[in-house]
Amino acid sequence: MSLRIIRPGLLTTVQDRGRYGLQHLGVVPCGPMDPVALELANALVGNRSGEAALELTVLGPEIEFESAALVALCGAHFDATLAGRALPLNRPVLVEKSSSLRSGRALVGSRAYLAVAGGIQTPPVLGSRSTYLPAKFGGLEGRQIRAGDRLPLVPDAEGLAQQRFSNLNVTRKNPSGVKTVAWSAPALTLPEREPIVIHAMEGRHHAHFDAAAQRAFFEATWKVSPDSNRMGFRLLGPALARIEPVEILSEPACLGTVQVPANGLPIALMADHQTTGGYPKIAEIAAADVPRLAQLAPGGAVRFARCSLEQAGELRRVLRQRLDSALRALAWEYTT
């Protein structure tokens, strides 16, 4: 039972919850750029949270299903079709054997997760199926997927699909003929009108920057450079100058750290970032806002709003509440 890749898309990788507990050995967690969308995608097909799914980036893949499967595409609004008919997003969809799912461009947002009931079963490496592109391990041979790849599913993916779908309350026949439900999960991380506003706290080295740079970071509108990737989003805008160039001893870096290399242009560290670094940290993005930043496509515009540690906690509480209520509703659909 597997998925066959006809066209790979721009950057499609296998990602699960991530690889934790190894950062002291230089291994970063990787995992989904937008963990909120992955969690919803898994819940939509009745999976445990953290199962491996495909992360689609900007331009999606074309996939042939060698067996029937229950899938959900969640996150960015991809222009996608299933056997030639529009694929409803953020819903569980029963895919018939030998049909093909074609995803085009992301119309809103830039990353979506294609979850399959039972999860994608590439072999776990160091406790996770997440693809670690810089060190080339995890996922499918440590790389992005290519045309001709086969992604293994659980042996009974077909039975699981039928069983889970029959448990769902399908009250209304979809006129398009696609086997799905009448409800959908909410999109919690899609970018609103640009520039999107992302909350950030002052970083450890904020005071190393001159007054103009400190102001500019929170006032300028930044553009996501086309050089951005899963390691980091390079931001284009005014160059940020330091008062004096002091050498900083290499120290741990985090998801959401905004560091400024010598050229003065900030880099926001994303899922595949390095575990340590010696560039000064001007800011740290609030954990609740990292998934929304991850949804910004190259060329997208962002502004940073200063927030406190307490406000960041409040943002997390609100996001967790919204996600939990969506997950509760989905769990209810699967149990009734």
Partner: protein, 244 residues
């Protein structure tokens, strides 16, 4: 033995006085003990990191010892995440100091065969000019001292190793190499690094190890862990090929 334990306790007590905590966003806290590289300090904080990891707190994902401090990475959405987390981490660290002494020097000794031939030691001649030591003297000095893994980072398994003979402390090269060959043993300032992957780098290459530094399919995956002692063992070109 008793004296050594007491020495470790005293070192840790001294360390506690210099503790400075700062948030790394709302997903991690950095416990910093000064901002200059100090081998004794690093040894103590390695012990502290082991003690912290031994707590296995469900909301802490990673305990990352660095050159002068320890990062605690947590799951910011974990239901058991204490608030305010900074105060809690301070209490946790203070609490761990008591148990940390017994972990000092708990690391393994890693023996690293290195072929110091100029074929691999691409910058040996340059280092020789800078230090006015002969190549043989450079090798002798690199092998002689006691080395420690201060931190692993940048790439999976890449060690930052302290304990370099002060006479070998050369600055980073002005023009970094685009590719440091895999297995390169390189020095800069007071440290040695071993490159697990072919990456760019500005350190001076003095040799190469035939060992695989990081292999996710091996157990343990990483040849080096923070706190390990390191012994560099010079090997000939022929031995290098045999060990590969």
């Amino acid at each position: 033995m008793h004296d050594r334990r007491r020495g470790a306790k005293n070192r840790l007590k001294k360390l506690l006085k210099t503790l400075r905590l700062s948030p790394l966003g709302d997903g991690a806290v950095y416990a910093e003990f000064g901002d200059t590289l100090d081998l004794e300090l690093n040894r103590s904080l390695q012990a502290l990191a082991v003690a912290l990891r031994a707590r296995a707190l469900p909301w802490i994902r990673d305990v990352v010892p660095a050159l002068c401090g320890i990062a605690l990475h947590f799951d910011p959405f974990h239901p058991e995440l204490p608030a305010p987390v900074l105060e809690y981490c301070r209490a946790l660290l203070e609490d761990c100091f008591d148990s940390a002494a017994k972990f000092e020097d708990s690391g393994r000794t890693v023996e690293v065969p290195v072929c110091y031939d100029v074929e691999f030691g691409l910058d040996l001649t340059e280092v020789s000019e800078r230090t006015s030591f002969s190549i043989d003297e450079i090798i002798k000095r690199h092998v002689k001292t006691q080395h420690w893994v201060l931190m692993v980072g940048f790439s999976p398994g890449q060690p930052y190793i302290g304990g370099l003979d002060p006479g070998l402390a050369v600055p980073r090269r002005a023009a970094p190499r685009v590719r440091m060959p895999t297995g390169s043993v390189a020095i800069a300032n007071a440290q040695t690094a071993v490159y697990p992957y072919e990456t760019p780098g500005g350190w001076s290459i003095i040799g190469r190890t035939p060992l695989t530094v990081f292999d996710p399919a091996r157990d343990p995956a990483s040849l080096f862990a923070p706190g390990d002692r390191v012994r560099f063992i010079p090997v000939s070109r022929i031995e290098f090929e045999k060990l590969k």
